[in-house]
């Protein structure tokens, strides 16, 4: 359970300044606002053939773009911050297993990401005057999708922290690996927003769950190689 201590340390440091959380929330908000400007009133037009409003088609993609882009900000700082002042070496000297460092980072990143998502969803609902039909289903999809994002992202963040162009490299290598998560999250979210049942998205939920499990297990094994000297 030592990873809880590492997560606690990260979150303590974060909540003293709230730098990262504030920028993530504001960034997600800006993405949603820009979409709201760009689509304007046309978003609420009803398309008779599809029995949908335009916003119903755009909403899931928009939400996940906001989530992943804002989450990327947090991930790129997650290990870069440790690199300064040699904190990473201090962490490695701790009498804990290397995978505990990974698990602690996953936990603290996940907390920040969920806080950002909790702040973004209401803003999205207000700006597009949108009704979410199946909220428990949507929460389940968001939780599974976010963990998939965090499991891969934390590992690759540790991997890129040692490279010359880490801020640029992380998104470039993270998004291809994430595409299965984003694709299934977006389709599942679309179904949940349009009053679908959980049983309608069992395929997507299976992909998300399998993806989460595979990457969690693989990361436990390979993480130590990313921070070794």
């Amino acid at each position: 359970m030592k990873f809880l201590q590492i997560a606690k340390k990260d979150l303590l440091a974060e909540f003293r300044t709230k730098q990262m959380l504030n920028s993530m929330v504001i960034f997600a908000l800006l993405v949603i606002v820009i979409f709201s400007f760009a689509f304007g009133n046309e978003a609420t037009i009803f398309i008779p053939n599809l029995k949908k409003k335009i916003i119903d088609i755009l909403a899931p993609g928009m939400l996940w773009i906001a989530f992943t882009f804002a989450g990327m900000l947090g991930l790129s700082r997650s290990f870069a911050g440790e690199k300064e002042e040699g904190c990473l070496d201090g962490l490695k000297l701790c009498p804990v297993d290397r995978s505990d460092i990974y698990n602690g980072k996953v936990l603290s990143n996940a907390v920040l990401m969920f806080l950002m998502e909790i702040a973004t969803l209401p803003i999205f609902i207000v700006l597009f005057s949108y009704d979410i039909q199946n909220l428990p289903g949507l929460i389940l999809v968001i939780i599974l999708g976010t963990f998939g994002f965090i499991f891969v992202g934390t590992l690759l963040s540790a991997l890129t922290v040692n490279t010359r162009t880490r801020e640029i490299l992380l998104p470039v290598i993270l998004f291809p690996v994430l595409i299965p998560v984003i694709l299934s999250s977006v389709t599942a979210t679309a179904s949940m927003l349009a009053n679908g049942n959980i049983s309608d998205i069992s395929g997507e939920l299976q992909i998300l769950a399998v993806y989460d499990i595979i990457f969690f297990v693989v990361a436990q094994i390979v993480f130590e190689y990313t921070i070794e000297d």
Partner: protein
């Protein structure tokens, strides 16, 4: 000497298989899901072997990455690099040949919602990022270690791509069962023989290219060493 024999066999087999594809290989009367000009079926003879060759190269990256992390021997890093570069080329060829066929069979180069097409594209992008990681790190030991980690993570996309046609794809033809529509299994006789010749040719081509790349890398190491020793 052995290498030269392999190169010669590869060259001969590739020429034979290209000749077979264009002039001999039969077009089954019932080509399954494909529409358009029935002759477009012929892409199958080389599109499938090229795609499987890309998977094979990525599998080599995966295995040699694991071996590198276990043994920390530089030769496994060179094998990973060689296999990744060859795999990227084959993945790109798969995308290009598939798109050309798509224009004939579906009337569009790319069907953006088909899962199989997207997973093939992701596969290509993941190994492009693998090469980008290698470019971004200067120190050889660190480069080998970190790219080996990514080589292991990235391989997860290969089974996803391979299985996607079995479970989700709605447009891409499925030949080897189990298939979502219950079809498939439509190969036998002449088609199978010519297909296997193509498989042999392209697998040998992968092996040849990887061997050549490994030799080039070893030579580069040697040149660097000589440069260092003479303070050039």
């Amino acid at each position: 000497m052995l290498k030269k024999i392999v190169y010669a066999i590869t060259a001969a087999l590739i020429l034979i298989s290209v000749y077979i594809d264009f002039f001999i290989a039969p077009v089954p009367i019932n080509t399954g899901q494909a529409a358009g000009d029935p002759n477009n079926f012929k892409i199958f003879y080389f599109h499938l072997p090229i795609a499987i060759s890309a998977y094979l190269s990525f599998f080599i990256v995966f295995i040699s990455s694991i071996l590198y992390l276990r043994k920390k021997e530089q030769k496994w890093d060179i094998v990973s690099l060689a296999a990744a570069e060859v795999g990227v080329v084959f993945a790109l060829l798969t995308l290009i040949s598939g798109s050309i066929w798509g224009k004939s069979a579906w009337g569009a180069y790319w069907v953006s919602w088909d899962v199989r097409l997207n997973t093939s594209l992701i596969l290509f992008l993941i190994y492009i990022s693998y090469l980008m990681i290698r470019q971004a790190i200067e120190e050889p030991e660190k480069r080998a270690r970190l790219s080996a980690v990514f080589g292991i993570i990235g391989f997860i996309s290969v089974p996803i791509s391979f299985l996607s046609v079995r479970f989700y794809s709605k447009m891409h033809p499925c030949v080897v069962p189990p298939c979502p529509s219950g079809g498939g299994g439509g190969i036998g006789g002449d088609v199978l023989i010519y297909l296997l010749i193509n498989f042999a040719a392209y697998f040998l081509l992968v092996a040849t290219l990887i061997m050549l790349k490994i030799d080039t890398e070893k030579m580069r190491e040697k040149v660097n060493e000589i440069k260092r020793n003479n303070n050039l």
